[in-house]
């Protein structure tokens, strides 16, 4: 059977060049980067060269780059680390306020929920029907004691891009003595949007290697110099003491290589992927009745085409597509394990019963026009079969 992968936003295959770059570091150059002997030095050099490469792409200093375990751990370290570094007097609930959005990935959202459970005041910003954060709402939410604002660079479920530069300017322009630190989760964007932290004006930014052709098991955290971040795990001096534990040398090397390649192919990827995504969107809206695109019509990532199909349940669509060899994801309750559909869609104002019928296609550099044609051939029948099965219930 044909197999078509359209779930690149979930994870990406490792590129051959990345595997090649990592290969020597498993068995041949296996040293612990903290060891002083030649084996260790060899590993240390590889880690630091990787850090240099990443720093160059992010337009920052190598010391501002921390390698962690995953995007989720980077998000946790960024948020909890800033709070841990607060002075004692700020740590009482009414002296410390945090802002994030209601559409964040759970890696961010659940971390703020945790802080809230510990007594911290947290504001969750809403979004408009396209998933865009309202700058006016943000401006109103900022208080003299706001220490951290975290807004995702682009939403991973619907692809809407958030106005990161504008948010940064807004935070800089506050009249309060304390300027809130600004964190962005950039996990979804590495292959398509600028990662220049100076241009973006962020203090902290997280990335995950497996979203851009790198290995699973590494996260990147950019921490601007002077941003107070304290560790959240303990046990060593590694990564400036912020992510203790033996460095995963092969994975770190692979991360740098993958990021380098994804920047190299940036322009080409954007063009190819956008064209195919638009073909998919147009085709689906034409061929399938009673469905609509979710997310912003234009201010969206090139790779994500997300839809709501009325009168069907997303998991059923996903499984039927899978039976045809097509891999996608869904924000339906049945794929989340907690019986609630995607929090992102609900916050965008999509009714719960419709949110159950959500499907996300996410394309990659290797997606072909023929694959999109195949989807457009199979999808309409799958939706109509499932609608027949429900008899319009």
């Amino acid at each position: 059977m044909r197999k078509i992968y359209l779930d690149y936003a979930a994870t990406t295959p490792i590129l051959p060049e990345v595997i090649e770059a990592m290969t020597p570091f498993w068995a041949e150059k296996f040293g612990n980067a903290s060891s002083l002997h030649s084996f260790g030095r060899e590993a240390r050099v590889a880690v630091e060269q990787s850090r240099d490469q990443v720093a160059e792409i992010l337009n920052c200093e190598p010391e501002e780059i921390i390698f962690t375990g995953t995007t989720t751990t980077s998000d946790n370290l960024a948020i909890l680390g800033v709070v841990n570094a607060l002075e004692e007097k700020q740590l009482s609930p009414n002296r410390c306020h945090l802002i994030t959005t209601a559409i964040e990935h759970h890696a961010v959202l659940d971390t703020f929920k945790y802080l809230e459970s510990q007594g911290f005041a947290v504001t969750y910003l809403s979004v408009d029907k396209y998933g865009v954060v309202d700058l006016k709402e943000l401006e109103k939410a900022i208080r003299p004691e706001t220490v951290l604002v975290s807004v995702m660079y682009a939403n991973n479920e619907v692809g809407t891009i958030e106005p990161i530069e504008e948010i940064s300017k807004l935070l800089q322009a506050t009249s309060y003595k304390l300027k809130p630190k600004f964190h962005t989760d950039a996990a979804a964007v590495a292959e398509y949007l600028t990662l220049d932290v100076q241009k973006l004006g962020v203090d902290l930014m997280t990335l995950g290697a497996h979203k851009f052709g790198g290995p699973k098991g590494v996260g990147i955290l950019y921490i601007k110099k002077g941003t107070g971040v304290n560790p959240v795990t303990f046990g060593g001096h590694h990564e400036n003491g912020l992510w203790p534990g033996t460095e995963a040398v092969p994975l770190i090397v692979g991360t740098a290589k993958a990021l380098e390649l994804s920047i190299k192919y940036h322009v080409l990827s954007i063009k190819l992927v956008t064209e195919l995504r638009d073909k998919l969107i147009k085709g689906v809206l034409e061929k399938v009745p009673d469905c609509y695109l979710t997310g912003h019509p234009t201010q969206r990532l090139p790779d994500i085409a997300s839809f709501v199909f009325k009168g069907v349940e997303g998991e059923a669509v996903l499984l039927r597509l899978d039976a045809e060899g097509i891999a996608v994801s869904s924000g339906s309750a049945c794929t989340s394990g907690d019986l609630k559909p995607s929090h992102v869609l609900l916050v965008m104002g999509i009714p719960q019963e419709e949110a159950h019928g959500s499907i996300r296609f996410s394309l990659g550099r290797n997606t072909t026009e023929e694959e999109i044609n195949y989807v457009l051939e199979k999808l309409p029948k799958i939706i109509s079969d499932l609608r027949n099965l429900s008899g319009g219930l």
Partner: protein, 128 residues
């Protein structure tokens, strides 16, 4: 930790048995709601004390569709007394198990059967 669908679940999902409306059904019930994402409508044709035919319509996930399909298979041709005893565990077992997060679908399917029989009974002996 069984978080994946069994082959039997997938078989009933991809090739649902007894789907569709049943003209002349004398016991009908709808359970679940759209808010939760799963709705099942059970149609039974009962003659004497026997379930002659059973069909279903389901809006829902893979487990919702396969449990309703399996439920109809398990009660078709059976005495009403047996059909009434159909439990969600029996449906799940007949499907070689369900992921823990999907047990509620089998509960819904068992409830649909029970409610359809109640509907038949509530109409009196003829069930019309």
């Amino acid at each position: 930790m069984n978080q994946l669908y069994s082959e039997k679940v997938m078989d009933h999902f991809l090739h649902p048995r007894n789907m569709g409306e049943l003209p002349g059904a004398n016991g009908v019930a709808t359970v679940g709601n759209k808010q939760c994402g799963d709705v099942m409508k059970m149609y039974l044709k009962i003659e004497g004390e026997t379930v002659k035919e059973a069909k279903f319509q389901t809006l829902g996930c893979g487990a919702a569709i396969s449990t309703s399909s399996m439920a109809t298979e398990m009660i078709k041709g059976k005495p009403l007394s047996d059909a009434l005893k159909l439990t969600n565990q029996a449906i799940a077992e007949a499907l070689d198990g369900l992921p823990s997060s999907k047990i509620h679908c089998s509960v819904l399917a068992a409830e649909a059967v029970k409610r359809a029989i109640e509907d038949y009974r509530s109409k009196g002996e003829g069930g019309k």
